[in-house]
Symmetry: C2
Subunit: 368 residues, 2 copies
């Protein structure tokens, strides 16, 4: 494995100082920003995440702020999910598609007010798409990237740690809702959300200057909870079936292929770009779809490219994320499988880049 | 320094196999793709680049293909550079700006035909912007990312090596022009261009399958020329004043601040998005601008964030790229300086993140 070469283009975050002090060992790049991938080891981080509480620098989940009289029209243009019932204080996971129904991003939409939204991004410059649409349609909106850097608190002890820093009322925040909480005289948006299945919160930290004070306060308050620096964990997120844009899906996939059909209200999401294409898909259904794939393996190479899924010598799909799970004692993977082979229980083989063909099986559900 | 964590999201290239076999030691991520940053060492790579010939995997310079009846209108909307005189066979460096005149990318535009163009990208998803504009204006165009991966051949022996693989006629290709040359039965677009001042070519390789055969043919043919795997070299590109999008400029900068005013034909580039804003800038001139900065230093930390440029305790600019130059025996840097202090010869101090304040000087020109 090679080193990552530092440069300003790979942006540091308001929490980088804390991440470095905690001994980060691996990085990836996400929205032109550094995202930690490992502290102790992926397995040790995984065990700790499932039993204690971690603080994650996910500043790379950049926001696009959409504000102004036409903002509601613009955000509805971005997604086939019907946003009419959405209230301020809610977060919606939403597929964003282009005119052909191809996935451009799968952000979380945060509704701050009737005319103010944050689009909390996965890894692509969706800002460019939103600005392009706003410009082309001459919409009366402001579209920009604000100085907002999410910090996640994840794990079974997340409620306890957050209550110590923000007060007990933070426990009352419901899933995919948010509230405003005070820290050192600043109001912070705190949502119950995050890229793990262990539960927790995301704090949308406005203003880089308050980043390290908050980081330090969380570690101070959680010393007896064994709080540690963590990051989205490859094994845990695959077990939980959390898709990763750029890994498990890209512009060549429709939301339906990604198993996101339930977020497509194509009949009622009036004005959505790509609606015509998706109406067709909604009628006919996709011919391939995301599935949980179990692999018989004690060890696996990093999944840095598609691995072919085979029935004999016939290619019937591909794996896009994979790791060995200590808790389930097998390889856990996310794949895209053709409809001829996507039934739960179907036996396949997966071919890794070194030419190994390992037994694999389509599962009904992910592991959690 | 930390490791880079492999995943499919950080895309491999058609040349990755060759890059790994050549012993790549460092990577950055560019347009969601791996870009090597170091083989032997940055200094050794630098010396070799200036004396011999290198083959660079710059597949990360992704193309946006724009095709169809409205394609000329669309590409002119992207840039304040007047494209009316551009002919098929030419390459134009062009600033791309948003409606406020802020830089979105600084690609090379390749004109394949009157109705077919490649926009060869710096590091941002300009595809989203171009698709958004095309959709908003209902233009009759196709906009997509084709399977085209540039491979650069750079260094004083580039002509000799290229002639051995593509024939002597490749020597006749002029700067920022291209021609079509045959390799193993395939036509390849070869331009005289590249991200160094040592001269050379970029081969726009269509179809990933022919990547490694071409890579191997170049190494085979250049054995006695000491051909090596290389990459854009930090020291050499700063010496040469080659700006890097995301490092030396971003959306907050106008082309004029970046010293790209000569590519802004704001009066005649009719239809350019951001023209109103840039007309204003063109009249008044920028209040800060890119400058070559010489630093008195034998060693420098990696420039992974802005370094402040100071006159006493007053901030008068910032450095965005820096390295120590063996050939010039000083720190070489690219900075943005306020007009009060941008005259050649102005003495300043540069503050590195460890708190050191080093003597620095504004130069008239870059080093080559």
């Amino acid at each position: 494995m090679a080193m990552i070469a530092p440069s300003r283009r790979l942006r540091r975050t308001p929490f980088s100082e804390g991440v470095e002090a905690a001994g980060v060992k691996g990085y990836t790049v996400y929205n032109h920003m550094l995202l930690p991938t490992m502290f102790a080891s992926v397995v040790e981080d995984y065990r700790h995440l499932k039993t204690a509480v971690q603080v994650w620098d996910v500043a790379c989940e950049r926001q696009v702020e959409v504000r102004g009289p036409d903002s509601a029209r613009l955000v509805q243009m971005l997604t086939p999910r019907d946003l009419r019932g959405m209230l301020p204080g809610q977060c919606y996971y939403m597929p964003v598609v282009d005119e052909t129904g191809g996935m451009l991003n799968d952000p979380v939409l945060v509704k701050l007010a009737e005319d103010r939204w944050w689009v909390s991004l996965a890894d692509s410059d969706l800002l460019h798409w939103i600005k392009g649409i706003a410009y082309g349609y001459r919409l009366d909106v402001l579209v920009d990237e604000p100085d907002v850097s999410p910090l996640a608190v994840q794990g079974p002890q997340a409620d306890e740690l957050m209550a110590r820093v923000f007060g007990d009322s933070v426990r009352a925040v419901r899933f995919f809702r948010f509230g405003w909480f005070r820290f050192q005289g600043r109001d912070m948006l705190v949502a119950r959300s995050g890229y793990s299945k262990q539960g927790g919160f995301e704090i949308y930290v406005e203003g880089g200057d308050i980043g390290m004070p908050l980081w330090n306060a969380l570690f101070e308050a959680g010393r007896d909870l064994d709080v540690r620096a963590g990051c989205p964990n490859l094994i845990e997120r695959i077990e939980g079936g959390l898709l990763s844009y750029g890994n498990d899906m890209d512009r060549s996939n429709t939301p339906h292929e990604c198993g996101l059909g339930k977020f497509c209200n194509t009949a009622t999401a009036i004005g959505c770009v790509g609606r015509d294409a998706l109406l067709r898909v909604a009628q006919e259904g996709p011919v391939r779809q995301v599935r949980a794939i179990e692999i018989e393996a004690d060890s696996l190479p990093p999944c840095d490219r598609h691995w072919r899924l085979l029935d004999g010598d016939r290619i019937v799909g591909r794996v896009s994320s994979a790791a060995v799970s200590p808790d389930f004692g097998c390889g856990v993977a996310i794949g895209m499988v053709r409809m001829t082979h996507w039934e739960a229980g179907t036996a396949l083989r997966v071919e890794t880049p070194d030419g190994m063909r390992l037994p694999a099986r389509v599962r009904e559900n992910f592991w959690v």
